[in-house]
Structures are given as structure tokens and as C-alpha cells.
């Protein structure tokens, strides 16, 4: 393995990834806990380490709109945001995907207001799940850097041509120092050649009008083609991940990452840094004779339905942990997992909502969720679509009292 080792934060890793990817335009607006990403990039550009245009926009809506303009003009564009910033962007987040522009974005997951809360949960990026963006959730700083590099390659591939967001947990990764191997620029250049739009761009030599009115006779097929591209992205991710493993010797999983699943009776399914806690919990539980494994969902879009189904075959139950809530319905991950196995497996799924607004979820908590779930499964008491976990005692009582 080449490259150099540094001890850096997740945000620093994201900024270095943008530099290594030779991004040409970075429109950016600061928001906690994303701020240091755009600060690092500004310093890379102003110190001459990075050859790119930095647009100090006046809002996140404009950040994404400017990234769209740059990508439409034919260059690689990158931005980063979190929480309210991502919500303000929402309109043009849709627009980027509809335009089939492979823009890259780091989303530093943070709760949404009110009340103000700068700590981690996934409500912000989950609110964007149906925009047509590829969504990857990561659980280490190395994975932040590597995944951004890989996802540019996936997004720009002619079968895909959709934008991507790499979601890293606020503070847990963004501000936490970890050793990260930073690959050499030449190696990255060979892995990720410069972006050349294969479909269309704003070129006076070849004028086209993009995005004008499409009547009902035309529109639906355009949406179908986005869905097709999203489904095709599944195999492209697996291909690119292997190519990356061959070249750089690192592997964080493809659309999913599996841990001790083969002989497991129960499977924990989680994303982001909660999956890291779950990994520890699996080891602890196995030490005490509980046969449990972990399925870390890395790619939420495209959703790995096949992998989930395969992982849950011949199992006794699944414990799905969500760090966001679809009010009155469940956790977004829980809902997807149920969809994956529906009509295929008759398997109890216990879906937990926890860790909102930065409430700490430790590996002991994951162990407790697994034990509670096993009790419910074994006594046939999986009686709700989802359960809240780690509410304060008086709220827990009210939750039990309420029906669903």
C-alpha cells in the first residue's frame, strides 16, 4: 500500500478526497458540523495545492445551484453541507439528479430544527432519499475519503450519471481524529480520470436546450430512466469497489458490509457509525454465546434489496436500528428492510428508533436492543411496526401506554 498516513478528522478526509479527485468547482456555504470541510478546501485552493474555483455563495440553495451550473458546463463539482443547509437545498438537490449531473457532496449528518441541535442523526439526508441521489453511509474517516473517490467514479459512469452524497455522522466522524491513509495523487489520477460529460453539456458549439417543459407524454420515461440508472448503480458500485480494492488494497464493503453473518441466528442491520457500535456488540454477544451478525447498509440509494434478502434467509429475526424517524411509520431503514423481504420471507423484524439529535448509542445499547428483540421474537411479541429506544423513563412509560 502506497500513500501517506495522517491522523485527521472525517471532515479533513472529505476535503482531501475532493482535492485528490481534482474537483474543478467548489461552491460552498458553511454550516456546523460541515464547516471545516469548506475551510480546508478554501485553504487548499488559496495555497495552490488545489486547482479549482471556489464560489463563496450566500446560501446552500445557491451552493447546489452553482454546482449544477458548473457540472452542466462540463466539469467535476463538489460541495458539502448538513442539516438545515441540506433542507434549504432540497429543491435543487432534485434538480441536480433530474439533470443527470454527477455532482459530489459530503453530507455531515446533523439533526434538524427546531429546536436547534448540531449533533448527529440522519433526518437530514433521509429527507433527501427520493431525490435521485446515490446515498452512501460510512463509519470511519478512511471510509469517508475512499468512498468519495469511488463514488465520483460510480456517479460519472455512463450507466449511472446521477449525483451522490457520502453521509458521515456529525462530530462522531466529522470532528474525530483517526489514522487515514492518503493515497498518492498519481494513483488517484489513474483510478479516476478527468470528468468528460458523456451525455450533454452547455456548449456553444453544440447548442441544446435543457430542462424545458416536458408534457405528460414525455415526462414519465425521464423518471423511469433515473430509476433505471439508480438500479444499475448497484452493480457499478460493486465493480468500482473491487477496482479500488485491487489498486489501493482497501475494502469497506460494497452496497453492504457483512460481519459474522454465516452462522448467525439474528442479524443487526444499521448504517453509519451505529454499525461500528453494532460490530462491537456482535463480538460481545458472541462471547456470551448469542449467535448474532451484522449487516451494515452502506448504500441506502440504490437500496440493496437483494443483499438484505440474502442476509436474512434462514435467520430467526432482524434488528434494524434507525437514527431518524418517518413519523408514525417507522425508521426509513426498517421500512426498506421490510420491503426487501416482503412476500419472500416470514421473518420477524424489530425496528428501533434511537440516537436522535446526538443521543449517545453505545455498543451496550445495541446489545440491549438485540436482547430485547430476541425476547420479543421468542415470545411472539413483535407487536409494533417500530419501537423507540433510550427514551427517558417517564417518556418510555408514556410510549408503552400509547397504542400505535
Amino acid at each position: 500500500m502506497g500513500g501517506t498516513w495522517e491522523i485527521i478528522t472525517g471532515n479533513h478526509a472529505a476535503a482531501i478526497a475532493a482535492k485528490l479527485a481534482r474537483v474543478k468547482v467548489v461552491p460552498a456555504y458553511p454550516i456546523t458540523p460541515q464547516t471545516t470541510i469548506v475551510e480546508y478546501i478554501a485553504s487548499f485552493i488559496e495555497s495552490g495545492q488545489m486547482d479549482a474555483e471556489y464560489i463563496r455563495v450566500e446560501s446552500e440553495h445557491s451552493a447546489m445551484a452553482a454546482a449544477i451550473g458548473a457540472s452542466a458546463a462540463g466539469v467535476r463539482a463538489f460541495t458539502a453541507t448538513a442539516s438545515q443547509g441540506l433542507l434549504l437545498m432540497h429543491e435543487v438537490v432534485h434538480w441536480a439528479a433530474g439533470s443527470r449531473l454527477p455532482i459530489g457532496m459530503a453530507v455531515v449528518n446533523r439533526a434538524v430544527g427546531p429546536p436547534w441541535n448540531i449533533h448527529v442523526d440522519h433526518q437530514d439526508s433521509m429527507s433527501q432519499r427520493d431525490t435521485g441521489w446515490l446515498q452512501m453511509y460510512v463509519s470511519s474517516n478512511q471510509e469517508v475519503l475512499d468512498t468519495i473517490l469511488m463514488m465520483f467514479k460510480v456517479a460519472e459512469s455512463p450507466e449511472v450519471l446521477l449525483p451522490f452524497m457520502v453521509c458521515l455522522d456529525g462530530f462522531v466522524l466529522s470532528h474525530t481524529y483517526m489514522p487515514v491513509n492518503i493515497p498518492d495523487q498519481e494513483e488517484v489520477d489513474e483510478f479516476l480520470p478527468p470528468y468528460k460529460p458523456p451525455h450533454w453539456s452547455l456548449d456553444p458549439e453544440n447548442p441544446i436546450t435543457f430542462g424545458n417543459l416536458a408534457l405528460p407524454d414525455e415526462y414519465q420515461e425521464m423518471r423511469w430512466s433515473m430509476d433505471m440508472a439508480m438500479r444499475r448503480a448497484h452493480d457499478v458500485i460493486e465493480r468500482v469497489v473491487e477496482e479500488f480494492r485491487e489498486r489501493f488494497g482497501r475494502y469497506h464493503g460494497g452496497v453492504v458490509w457483512e460481519y459474522k453473518l454465516e452462522d448467525a441466528d439474528y442479524v443487526v442491520i444499521a448504517m453509519g457509525t451505529l454499525a461500528s457500535e453494532a460490530e462491537v456488540a456482535v463480538d460481545e454477544l458472541r462471547d456470551r454465546g448469542v449467535r448474532v451478525g451484522l449487516l451494515k447498509v452502506r448504500s441506502f440509494r440504490p437500496f440493496p434489496h437483494k443483499e438484505v434478502l440474502k442476509a436474512l434467509e434462514d435467520k430467526r429475526g432482524a434488528i434494524v436500528i434507525d437514527r431518524s424517524i418517518a413519523f408514525s411509520s417507522g425508521g426509513p431503514l426498517g421500512i426498506e428492510v421490510k420491503a426487501s423481504i416482503y412476500n419472500q420471507l416470514d421473518l420477524p423484524i424489530v425496528n428501533f428508533i434511537t440516537g436522535l439529535g446526538g443521543r449517545d448509542v453505545t455498543y451496550q445499547d445495541v446489545e440491549q436492543m438485540v436482547r430485547e428483540s430476541m425476547d420479543r421474537i421468542l415470545s411472539d411479541r413483535v407487536d409494533r411496526p417500530y419501537y423507540w429506544f433510550k427514551l427517558k423513563p417517564e417518556f418510555e412509560k408514556a410510549e408503552i401506554r400509547e397504542g400505535y
Binding site: V57, S62, I68, G69, G74, L202, P204, N212
Partner: protein, 295 residues
């Protein structure tokens, strides 16, 4: 070399026959002239506006230059991204926002202000038909007082925003007003904007037959009368210095007002009151013209 009307007629422009515009549309008249001056080496960014429809539905297009449609509030930011990308590619291209008054003075104001303050090398054009016409005639921040719209059925009560001066206050190198009633003045301003580096803003008075309720053949006449009655003064602000580019012998405001159904509820007293405002504003501009720099 000075631009002549003959030069203008020679240029093909980017407005192709067969658009989806209403008859007598002022915005298309403005685009026809502007695109002839700007030439084919131009990229247009268009936010939600009449022009989203005028260009005609997919898979056809009435615009012969690259054109990107973007969401309502975002045109100036998108154009910034386009220009910066061209900069990294060492391409010299005119990057032009072609927006209506809603996309400029209201929902697009924040992105416009940001791009102006950053000094993006783009030409921002507001074709101003003084209301939300694409959605069927609702008032905007550019709607003049007393005008009837579907959201001001008894007439607007507030004065409109002074958008050209708001942009000029960003200390950008070039701001101009224009009217489709004075096409040559309009063309000259585009020619100038094309040559200046930095953020340029051109605000074009663009009469709208269905929105203002007047016969379709009167667009040019109303565009002229707006200027001749001082309702829409033609001026430019180059590097902070204001110059009134046309000083007509003033006609009574009534001649402009009484041609349009949108002002039909105005009494003679109200017209006199508006005329007083219009003349005061003309004097204010003459006063500004005397300064070395207004910003």
C-alpha cells in the same frame, strides 16, 4: 465601431421561429434583439418564468443557443457555476441569465445579490413584465402602484422595488435600464455589457398584452410611451456613474396609462398622483446624473 441598425439586422440571433410566446410578447422582442448582439457564443440560464414556456416544450426549442432551465430562485447562482467552470476550461463565453421580474426582484433576489457581490462575470437580464405573468397575472415586487392583478384585484397599493438601483448599490461595473420600445438603445447596452468584465445587470421594460390588457399590436408603442412619459427612464450606471441615455420631451402620463386595462380603475386624481411620483423620480435621476459617482 458604433453599432448600426443594419449590423443588428444582419445578425441571426438565437430566437428561432415557432416559439410558444403569446402574440405581441415584449420578452421575446427583447430576446430577439439581445441575442443578436450577444451572438452564438452565449449560454443562457433561465429560471421559472414565461421564458420557460416561450422556448417551447421538449423535444423542441425556439432557442438556438445552449440554454439551461433552473429552479425559480437559483438563476444567478447557476450562472455563477457555469462561468466558473468555463474559467477552469479557459473558455470565453457570454454567460447570461434571462429572468423575469419574479425571478429577479422577488424569489431570485438573494442569489442575484450574492452573485453581484462576488463580481461573477455574467450578464443578468431581467425582462420585466411587472407581474407574475406565467402563473396568470399575480402581483410581484415590480408591479407598479394601482395596477390590477389577480392578487391585487382592486389595484396594488405599494410602489415597486427600484431594482436597478438596488443592484447598482452592489457597486457592480454596469447597470442599465432598457425598453423594447427603444430597441437601438437596448442593443447598445448589450453591446456594452458584452465588453465589460464582471457583473452586468440590464433591466428591460417588457410590455405584456394579456397581463396588461392591451391590444397585441401596441407592445412597441407602450414600450415607447413608458419612456416618453418618464414612467420608465432609460439610463445606465457605468462604474458608479449614472447617465440618462434618452431624454425625451415628456408626454402626459395619461397617454401611457389609458392604453392599458390594468390601470382602468385609476381615477384622474390617481393618475395625477402617480405622475407626480414619476416626475419626482426623473428629477432624482437628473440629480444623480450630476454626481461623479453615485456608488
Amino acid at each position: 465601431m458604433p453599432l448600426t441598425i443594419y449590423d443588428l439586422m444582419k445578425e441571426k440571433g438565437s430566437y428561432l421561429p415557432g416559439s410558444a410566446a403569446c402574440p405581441g410578447c415584449g420578452a421575446t422582442l427583447a430576446f430577439r434583439i439581445a441575442s443578436r448582439v450577444l451572438g452564438p457564443n452565449t449560454v443562457y440560464v433561465v429560471p421559472a418564468s414565461c421564458f420557460s414556456v416561450i422556448q417551447s416544450p421538449f423535444p423542441k426549442s425556439a432557442v438556438g443557443a445552449p440554454l439551461y432551465n433552473i429552479a425559480f430562485p437559483a438563476a444567478a447562482a447557476t450562472a455563477s457555476g457555469v462561468w466558473r467552470a468555463f474559467k477552469t476550461l479557459n473558455k470565453e463565453v457570454n454567460v447570461v441569465v434571462w429572468a423575469g421580474d419574479g425571478g429577479t426582484v422577488d424569489i431570485g433576489l438573494q442569489a442575484l445579490s450574492g452573485a453581484a457581490e462576488r463580481g461573477e462575470n455574467i450578464i443578468y437580464v431581467c425582462y420585466d413584465n411587472e407581474a407574475y405573468m406565467n402563473t396568470g397575472i399575480q402581483r410581484s415586487g415590480a408591479t407598479p402602484p394601482y395596477a390590477l392583478t389577480k392578487t391585487t384585484p382592486t389595484g396594488k397599493r405599494e410602489p415597486s422595488k427600484d431594482m436597478p438601483l438596488i443592484v447598482a448599490a452592489h457597486r457592480v461595473p454596469y447597470v442599465a435600464t432598457a425598453s423594447v420600445g427603444y430597441p437601438f438603445d437596448l442593443a447598445k447596452k448589450f453591446e456594452k455589457a458584452k465588453r465589460i468584465k464582471g457583473f452586468k445587470y440590464i433591466h428591460i421594460f417588457s410590455p405584456c398584452p394579456p397581463g396588461w390588457d392591451y391590444p397585441v399590436e401596441k407592445t412597441a408603442e407602450i414600450g415607447k410611451l413608458a419612456v416618453d412619459t418618464y414612467f420608465w427612464p432609460l439610463y445606465e450606471i457605468e462604474n458608479g456613474k449614472l447617465k440618462i441615455t434618452l431624454k425625451p420631451r415628456r408626454k402626459p402620463l395619461k397617454e401611457f396609462i389609458r392604453l392599458q386595462g390594468r390601470f382602468r380603475k385609476m381615477s384622474d386624481e390617481e393618475i395625477a398622483e402617480l405622475e407626480k411620483m414619476v416626475v419626482e423620480r426623473w428629477k432624482f435621476l437628473e440629480h444623480l446624473e450630476k454626481s461623479e459617482r453615485i456608488f
